[in-house]
């Protein structure tokens, strides 16, 4: 199983000892330095596996997590050896959401001399947390998220920022925020309605905080695949990741950039952007290499594309 440190990492003079990670997914029993909440590995060539890894805390999102996500995905964005990301949770469930205990000071006791100043600081904190998941979108590599067991509160914010969602048969999802007295503010209210097709269902989930199980998640389109158990799901996720990684990175990453662009713009604007994007991106060897593979009926896995 190949593993090469990204030159981008090295250029920045960062010390990123992913050594444990090299041994692959199954053996990574805990957080990997320098991250304390994320375990990062390369199970398959060109595929990065990121695992939220606080199993003893039900993968609750603590202060470190919010910061490490930004670092992790910024590095992945720059890592030309990575073409696809698989994201999952270690232990018995995907995530129990925000770690209220560990973050009480930020949320429940914000700083400031008067209400205006407290608000000012609260806003900056929220914006920072929002960025934690927006980095997933800004990273041009497709992110497949694989959910097992519970995916609660902040977990839903996280998965709606990913590109492809799959889950196990025992998975359930819960937009929990109203139950703890707040409107969800790090992405669910903004992204969930764009991710599934039934607005009545989105509203029901957000207002009642009820659980949604795997079958409903599949039929409403939140996930596009359901697997019998975590092992099967991870195999499925890695297989899909490997498949995507075998294709031209110019094609795949251009696709992600334009899919996200078009979500937030009119069709006319998005078409214009697309033509301006592809006016240079069509000038790639990958086009010829891919076309030739197609004509020769070769698998793209046999083709070597330059790094991007």
């Amino acid at each position: 199983m190949a593993f090469v440190f990204s030159s981008a990492f090295r250029k920045q003079g960062l010390f990123v000892p992913f050594l444990n990670a090299v041994r692959g997914m199954s053996s990574s029993g805990g957080p990997t330095p320098p991250f304390t909440t994320l375990s990062v590995s390369r199970p398959v060539d060109a595929v990065t596996h990121v695992e939220i890894c606080r199993p003893e805390k039900r993968n609750a999102m603590n202060k470190a997590f919010w910061l490490e996500m930004v670092d992790c995905f910024s590095q992945i964005a720059e890592d030309s050896d990575c073409r696809v990301v698989v994201f999952s949770g270690a232990g018995k469930l995907f995530t129990s959401g925000i770690d209220l205990m560990g973050m009480a000071s930020d949320i429940l006791q914000p700083d400031g001399d008067d209400t205006a100043r407290i608000s000012w600081n609260v806003r900056r904190t929220i914006a920072k947390y929002q960025e934690t998941f927006s980095v997933i979108e800004k990273c041009p590599k497709p992110v497949i998220v694989a959910v097992h067991g519970a995916c609660i509160g902040g977990g839903v914010d996280l998965i709606t920022a990913c590109d492809i969602r799959m889950c196990t048969q025992d998975a359930w999802f819960q937009v929990k925020e109203v139950d703890i007295g707040l409107a969800a503010d790090v992405g669910t209210l903004q992204r969930l309605p764009r991710v599934i097709g039934s607005r009545s269902l989105v509203n029901e989930l957000a207002f009642t905080a009820r659980k949604m199980y795997a079958d409903e998640a599949k039929s409403c389109g939140l996930v596009s695949r359901v697997f019998p158990d975590k092992e099967a799901m991870m195999a499925g996720a890695l297989e899909m990741a490997g498949e995507i990684a075998s294709k031209s990175p110019v094609a795949v990453q251009g696709t992600k950039v334009n899919l996200i662009y078009s979500r937030d713009h009119s069709v006319a604007d998005a078409l214009d952007y697309m033509s301006t994007w592809n006016m240079s991106m069509l000038q790639t060897q990958d086009l010829m290499k891919s076309a030739q593979a197609a004509m020769e009926k070769k698998s793209l896995k046999e083709i070597i594309f330059s790094k991007l």
Copy 2:
């Protein structure tokens, strides 16, 4: 069954004798003063039930209806004793849509000295009718609509402006407008495509005016729940309403405001608005009360939240 007049109503010096309504849902056999087309009651604490109530006219939407809706939902928006609204139709069906006979003068014989002036007046009339359903969205309290029997023409405009849709097994929906020679102009063409996930289906319904029955309505996401009959549906609607009403109104109403905001803005804009919204809204006792209830495993129904 508790019922308290909204102080907001009283402060405004409005005389709102909802007396008949007090007796609750089942007993309200007809329109309630001062409304002639709407019956308003409080079947459950903090839940307002609004019923379109012209059963002898198949709940057709006449001139009075268009005006009364605005008054009714403006009052509900201000009524701090109401946290959730259930909307349904009296009699055998939800609504047969616009009352063509009763409104012919407005639509078929508009006023004006020349085409330009007639058009000017027609535009104002349409804008006024559009407002009739937009008030449902502007009201920050979740609105659950429960449909039985037929929901035709203007009825579809109405329900797409509600937050959660449910129906009985015998319900059917019809975007009727093309059949009477006009493009639907009070909301269906604008909201239906954002409410269900299949654009091909939206177009088919709008161009053919065919009926869609409960099962298809459920599978396409127009409704999120189907009940065997009206009684079961009303019980289900009230239960869901009660559930939502038990949660922090700061959380629930902030959720509605931001869900609607995010529908009409880019994700980046909507996240920015969200953080600006929550910078003050997180400074609520509800957060602590809710968090404590969660830790003590108490039901939120045991918690008393201040009015909003």
Copy 3:
């Protein structure tokens, strides 16, 4: 079977010998002059049938096709005898997508003295190809697309620009572009996410280029009807087209214009546009004619609406 040359065609002094087409759909065995890739006929009064017709080349989209589509739909937009369009493919499958061989020079060997100039020319080419499908949206008449067999690459771009999609049980769809080294740039990435409700599925299709079969296409909402075979589908498409063609063209075409407008604007903006649109469009005899037919329980097929 009625067939009348559009007066709009004649006024423009265009020589449009649709003679073969007159004989109707089943007999049209090949491309019709002056089009070499499209066969155009009028199988039913007020319904235009456009068929992509290069069966020996698996209906691959060659240079002529991209230009002829623009001409064809511009003419249809002006043809007041046409109220609905049915689009399908001749031969064994709908389309195999872009004709790479036939278009290699445009795409693989663009002109220009340096990278900037090549890019400039590539951008114009892409924009021109995008226009090929955007004309379908700009044409105010509903376009029903009927897919059998394969619908690959450019075929998906094409069908997402149509209004109603139906397919046969043996149909399959493939967003093929990443497999040939490019991000899809003539509409799929912009329109597919607005056409079906599951974003996870959209992304999966776009990143993996896997095939999607009829059942999944139906359950995700890409198509709204599935038929056992092509014959049944064409009959179904023509029946639906005839149904739509029987309704007021003012109502139907105003509906299309506003459905597309509302896709790209906020609800508030789209409502405003709608009222400005209908201030004149309600001043039509069609309203009275339709209302009267409704009251007399006549079929709209018995009513004669003026041309539009």
Copy 4:
């Protein structure tokens, strides 16, 4: 001097005894019933003159003012006898801005059980005050504002919502809000940058709260005319108003609607809206009447246009 009560006023059953106003502008020494802060008159046929009229309080904007403006301009919008509005201030200056003393409770002691609830109420109050000036824009009749002496704080918010600004040589303008500890929130920050051409100047005015005098106001484009004194200015304003009032109301009011629309939309969107607007508005007798007057070299003042 002609004066006719608007039939719109009468139809609504409102008792609007503008009797003092009839005597014209100069003699109106105080507020006119039923308004306590506004004096409304018709100095010239088809021209409504609205005067902020609390001279003993330097025309400070008190609670009544904020409400009365909405009523006043809503009535004007419906009043088909009015085609143009002139707005000015009674006494020694235009306005000293918000009446802090009279409004302290709203602003300094807002209601609510916790910060979230206080904020909720504050937001509603601000939105209501914003509406006070937005009604000026929503009223389709051109509003000419004539400023003399001081125009401070809320006064700048007000005038930026008007269509044409003129002032006396002794006038000065001050974006005062930062000096009392708040960001201007009823329109200045939103409209001033769209009203004058130098963003550096806008920022300087908003950050320093310095006074700007008539000459600078003219050279930067805030006002388009400067007059030696109030008498000359009022004569100039009424002359311009009379001029505008003599033209087709279909043309003039359509111009205002589209000028404001185009401010907030792209050029492409605004052109589309314009064509949809004029498709009916060109079907007016006014076009023929105006064209004929032009050919016969008659003044438009000799032409009688139907009311709008």
Copy 5:
């Protein structure tokens, strides 16, 4: 004076006998075939001069004009020998605007069986006329417009779609439309407020239809240069055109595309588009050639840039 037929023109097999034009600007005494209202010449290398040329009709815009403008600017957009356009009017004034007599049928007697159908046709006509000036913006080459004498009605619509405006001392401008009973609908209301900095002035001009003379046009920013007479202005325009034509066409035309893009988008969106644009456009030899010329203190007129 150099003159080379555009290869683009020839490639398209169009017969464009600009023979009269060859003799240059001053000698072109009338319309040039195949255009009947426009005279097109190449007075300076890489500069196209377009002249509206119906001096005996005060350059009024007749039916032919509206069509020819589209053809003319579409050809210029494709003509790689043209880098800059100068637009002016033949005879005593720039243009008296729309030729009401010649176009009465389109505007005053539109076709259609009922109001809706008439409106439908009117809308298409307006859209077509709007396109007449929008082509100026879509043409990526800078267009300098030189105005002498009167510029009335449609003339203002035209010049606001140009990039650089200059005029003679005796020029005046008039937004004439309200005087003939309509809201200006081919661009003035959409573009004028984005072209000059004083909104009060824009409104005054549009509501009163008063004349604005050269000095005010300069001080408000409508024109950026005023010349004593037409001869001096044409010399100035050609000099500026020659100056611009000497620079890299990749740089100049990319500048126009992005200036117009940024007018209609947020700064963030426009910056993103800019970087996507320049990612290929910086890969031009022009950069090196220009940099070298700068270092060697050569004039750009000595540099030969490839055609674009």
Copy 6:
């Protein structure tokens, strides 16, 4: 002259030895560690002075500059001791723009295996450079820029991102980019048209690259103040900065945030954002303190506002 290290700087554990800077503006003869291109000082309480400081290189923007600007303004944004920024250039002129020699590798020899990959890298570089000036806008403190001598190319990009512009009588401005073969891509084309009122002038400057001198810069609104020489200008800038710094930071910074927000949104959206912003920001002691100072006719300089 007071100078206090920002606690924000210290909290972050950054070593920021602004020692030379302490001695104030006039004595700072060169770049200050850890910045090599920027000199940062605190000449007046709560005012940060940032000076581009490569006088021997005519303040050309080299690689270090682009990075240091981001660090510098990010720190200023967090520095609660700073309320206003003054930006100027050391030595004989403001800046000669981009340091072509020092940056040739980035711009002229970008990395990548094919055109697509080179473009990908170029885009990231441009985006990074754009961020260099966007940080000025994201910093909520007003930035006054003081220009003397030349302001060329990148200098114009920089100053258009500042809030208030002033210059000396001998200053000149030049949008230089077309002269070196590229469209300006780090902000000028996006911001300049929003900063001055004459679009004709913007275009002329961008297409011709001609110099604009102080008087024209003042009359077109690019700068709002012109001073006889640099000494007078710096005194004026610091005086204005001190004035702004004396006001409530809640008011001033909220003003900046909303002015920039409103530039990129419709008036309606911007008003909504404003009310959502101020619902908490009005709950500040600054309001009471400022109001009291106003009533007691005290200068705000005597008031102590809490830090923000």
